[in-house]
Symmetry: C2
Subunit: 211 residues, 2 copies
């Protein structure tokens, strides 16, 4: 038979266990809060890759200036009279998740998105010397590799232009193979990408090579 004394002991024990359980889970939660906070302080948001319209046109990417920059070429009009064949400056960005994959494997995974923003040449002389200094944003181009969506394109790479004057188009249709893909296929060093001009990609790949 249970006595009142035993009951009180049981009650105290139950309360203690319940309290410990609550404190333990509370502590875990606090630890989790700290981890979440640290993650926010030491990380930053990444914009998603662009989607497609129902008709298969690519939506203009957003936030790509906060992706990973890989290199820039200067192809000025005055060295290509009357006008540079493509554009003057073209800084190149890759989506951070694709860059992580590149760093790990040295390959461009399915779904890789690369952005070429085009910029006019501004001044040609500055306090640091004679040269080509960036002017204004003028255009936006995107290449993406997708073995399902672009299964008929060489290397599965498709190329899009949102225009070479502002305002840019909201969507872009895939360009004909001859317009971009053929040149990339013939001249780009690594899987249709001109890594020979993008030292950030080359250096990141070296990490793979050293493993």
């Amino acid at each position: 038979m249970i006595t009142a004394t035993k009951m009180i002991r049981l009650l105290i024990s139950a309360g203690f266990i319940a309290a410990m359980g609550f404190l333990l889970s509370h502590d875990l939660r606090a630890l989790n809060d700290e981890a979440a906070l640290a993650a926010v302080q030491n990380s930053r948001p990444v914009s998603p890759k662009p989607g497609y319209t129902e008709n298969g046109a690519l939506l203009r990417p957003e936030g790509y200036r906060e992706w990973i920059y890989v290199g820039t070429a200067a192809v000025p009009n005055d060295l290509n009279p009357p006008k540079a064949p493509l554009h003057e400056f073209h800084p190149i960005y890759i989506h951070p998740s694709d860059f992580e994959h590149w760093k790990e494997t040295g390959t461009f995974r399915d779904g890789t998105v690369i952005v070429a923003e085009t910029v006019s040449v501004g001044p040609k002389k500055a306090s640091s010397g004679n040269g080509y200094f960036m002017g204004e944003f003028v255009g936006l181009e995107v290449s993406t590799k997708d073995s399902e969506r672009f299964k008929d394109e060489p290397g599965y790479w498709a190329y899009f232009s949102f225009g070479q004057t502002y305002p840019l188009a909201e969507t872009a249709e895939k360009l004909p193979v001859a317009q971009c893909n053929t040149c990339h296929r013939g001249n780009a060093e690594d899987d249709f990408v001109f890594t020979q001009y993008y030292p950030v990609l080359r250096a990141a790949k070296k990490i793979v090579d050293r493993r």
Copy 2:
């Protein structure tokens, strides 16, 4: 007097409350886990700003190629015979947290760190035309604004060079005012920073102007 029946009721109530408390905190923890996971999926790690040695030398920054790229100038040797005064290509990066502050306020906050990586000119002709294409990384320079540590520098900006040939130095002493600061003060458009050549900074500041 407490009867056994009352005691049992009390015990059941205590158990129920404890269980609810545990479940509630467990649910909150699960929600937190989801939030943390979402944060990781939509964000990426950011390397911290470089620290200083006990003697006040700046440690070489790491991971800056994943910071925010703001612009590049091409100042080729062949346009500045026999050699460009500073370097050929110099892509510029700003720490992501300082970029966030710039976007919000249009100012460079105390502690801002800007990196100028220097890159040689590689080929001068490619399938996209005549111009200057990036070669190899050759050097690394850093500027930082700190109203306490560099309270005697004009604008509180200090400048550091980790060398213009690899391997780079591990640490760098602050350069004399005349070597960098004077030119930045005289020619840079915005708080000692050459924003006139960095379209990413100008465009991000426009967001502030539109508010």
